[in-house]
């Protein structure tokens, strides 16, 4: 556990010493959100209808942008093999990696999303649901993205292959996430959708680290 906390701290320190990596997804998010009104013409009605979908898609894409980097640096400089050789349980180590990545992308985006929601005229009442769904959903995205990253980290050309592998798995999250916000917009209860997202998160939390660990062991051998 202490090791896990140390790993988490190390990852966060690394992220903070290279702020571009944190800033880029946020900037991307802001830009794309800004683009939609430009593309659509700023009729507040249309925008509001599609705001849930737009916000969710953009969050997903922002996640996609960073997924490949999760283990890349540590693989390239040999830190990853040291981790695999250390007697620490891989399950928790992997969880710490994913958690750190989630904190600087998914969580950060979720917390900033009210701002962007206002830009898109989302009904203010739906904002809590939006934040909740993004918090839960981006957790699943990060975990699933971790599997893709782990499977491809040993390959010389990751980038697009990761996207290929994980996008199909992202789709259910997108559907339930945007549906939750959609429901909140029309005043329907969104609890069921959020519950499903939560169930997905639990499942992913239980299984994804196992898959990631297995994939990492395979990848150092690629």
């Amino acid at each position: 556990m202490a090791f896990c906390a140390r790993l988490l701290r190390r990852q966060l320190v690394l992220a903070l010493r290279r702020p571009v990596d944190i800033g880029n997804p946020l900037l991307f998010f802001a830009m794309v959100v800004a683009l939609f009104p430009l593309g659509l013409g700023p009729a507040p009605g249309t925008l509001a209808t599609f705001a849930p979908g737009i916000l969710w898609i953009v969050a997903l894409l922002a996640n996609l942008l960073t997924a490949d980097n999760l283990f890349r640096g540590d693989f390239d400089d040999g830190s990853l093999e040291q981790l695999l050789l250390s007697p620490q349980p891989l399950y928790t180590s992997v969880l710490a990696y994913v958690l750190s990545q989630w904190l600087v992308t998914g969580a950060l985006l979720a917390l900033l999303s009210p701002l962007f929601a206002l830009m898109l005229n989302l009904a203010p009442g739906a904002i809590p649901t939006l934040v909740c769904s993004l918090l839960l959903g981006s957790g699943v995205l990060s975990l699933v993205g971790g599997i893709g990253a782990a499977l491809t980290v040993g390959l010389r050309r990751g980038g697009m292959l990761v996207a290929l592998l994980i996008l199909p798995f992202y789709m259910p999250v997108l559907i339930f996430g945007s549906a939750a916000v959609q429901a909140a917009v029309i005043g329907a209860p969104a609890g069921a959708h959020l519950a499903i997202l939560g169930a997905m998160l639990c499942l992913a939390l239980a299984l994804a680290p196992l898959a990631i660990g297995a994939a990492l062991r395979i990848s150092v051998d690629a």
């Binding site: 140390r6 790993l7 190390r10 690394l14 640096g73 040999g78 093999e81 050789l85 250390s86 051998d221």
Partner: protein, 196 residues
Amino acid sequence: MLEAEALGLERGGRVLFEGLSFSVRRGQLVQVEGANGAGKTSLLRILAGLSRYGYAGAVTHRAPLLFLGHQSAVKGLLTPRENLAWHIAGEGAYDDAAIEDALDRVGLHGYEDVPSHALSAGQHRRVNLARLYLSRAPLWLLDEPFTAIDRDGVVELEALMVRHVEAGNAVVLTSHQPLAVSYTLHRLNLLEGLCP
């Protein structure tokens, strides 16, 4: 401490070794020999348990091991102190004074808190080698530990390895430079096996 049975490996259509059986015992200092591309690194990765697919035979570990490979596992954004702290955390230990001491011993006094990417090639490797002073693993697997290290550094390292094996542990290393140690050196030839 380590037993290898009938190891065989083929890479890119070439047989690197076949039916290689040997065991590494306490007190042994083993140098793996072979020209460039002979398969030394591949063998060490198999012994360390990093390669798990595509080779024949079996490896049995009897003791925890420390593996230092071609890559330094030193993060450029972290300082030497942070790098080491992280490395030994993997073994479950943490001791600030010991880290400081180890960095001193590898000649990095004064560089403890410089980001590692601002270190020279040799200093970079030294950060990694400082782990040897901190590790409690009895078996060391070192892949070309002397790369980029200056002459004094090599002498120190050799002394450290001798101390380690004299204390009843074992070291397996590869190196293209001949070792200048006053200790029985076992040579492991990839084609002929271990010769004392």
